[in-house]
């Protein structure tokens, strides 16, 4: 059976669904017996979701207006 360290190393592959069947079974066995790894998996999976929300950015209106002017000028040439 995998250790926690080995399980953590395999999480990306596991979540991408690209793990060979046997390894996935070993990992699932470890997860069934290891609550810290289950919590870790949940937070690892939530990380990109939270980051994507935190990093969404609105272009400042002044820059957006400048972009429109720039494109009108360049694209009509």
């Amino acid at each position: 059976m995998f250790t926690c360290k080995e399980s953590v190393d395999l999480l990306l592959q596991f979540l991408d669904g690209e793990m060979p069947e046997e390894e996935a079974r070993h990992l699932e066995e470890h997860l069934q017996a290891c609550p810290p790894c289950v919590d870790f998996l949940r937070t690892y999976r939530a990380t990109p979701v939270l980051c994507k929300r935190a990093l969404s950015q609105q272009m400042p209106q002044e820059l957006a207006d400048r972009l429109t002017q720039f494109l009108r000028q360049k694209c009509r040439k």
Partner: protein
């Protein structure tokens, strides 16, 4: 989730319609496409370069380049991922001409294990459900921005392109010139470092 999928599909079909009009010479349709995608392009450029000025210029260059190559775009991919790839290329070119002090790989945080390969510390709180909360805490947003900015460049770009912009591993490989296994390895380390940063935020929050 089903709602998000539906919105994405509607966005894509709206993009396709606007793209056809823009390809036929309708400038207002092109401007509508720019308006739909400028925030994401600007956000990607800003997070990659960490410079307002560079991000503004990259956004301009990206949409100008998209306009100049509109007739070549066949629509096999979504317009959004096409412009994000152009933006990522532009940002990478700028970064490679810039000599900045890099955060060291060794400084990237990851979980600690004991000699038996078990967690050295039991994770104190499962904050995964907070990802679905409607309002994102401003302090958490700042902590995530800081942690992202602190990632070494090659890790930050892969994380932004995959997890924030939604490019595939193959598309990222085309943009960066790196192999897919190398990209996956960096993505995993970047996620671990960002997970640690969020974990610290929630655990410190508990102590207050």
């Amino acid at each position: 989730m089903a709602d998000q999928v539906q919105v994405a599909a509607e966005d894509e079909s709206g993009d396709r319609r606007l793209l056809e009009q823009a390809q036929a010479g309708d400038m207002s349709a092109f401007e509508a496409l720019v308006e739909r995608h400028r925030d994401k392009v600007y956000g990607l450029a800003l997070r990659m370069t960490r410079s307002d000025a560079d991000a503004g210029e990259i956004t301009q260059d990206t949409f100008l380049s998209a306009y100049q190559h509109l007739s070549e775009f066949r629509g096999e991919a979504a317009f959004g991922s096409w412009v994000h790839r152009i933006a990522a290329n532009n940002a990478l070119m700028r970064l490679r001409h810039r000599h900045v002090v890099q955060a060291a790989e060794e400084e990237m945080k990851s979980p600690e294990f004991n000699e038996r390969g078990s967690f050295a510390e039991y994770p104190a709180t499962d904050w995964s459900r907070r990802a679905d909360e409607k309002v994102l805490d401003d302090e958490l947003r700042r902590a995530i921005m800081q942690a992202t900015d602190h990632l070494p460049e090659g890790y930050r770009e892969v994380f932004l392109l995959k997890d924030v912009e939604g490019l595939s591993y193959e598309q990222i490989s085309e943009v960066t010139g790196d192999s897919v296994p190398a990209i996956k390895s960096r993505l995993h380390r970047a996620r671990l470092a960002l997970r640690e940063a969020i974990d610290r935020f929630y655990n410190e929050d508990l102590k207050r």
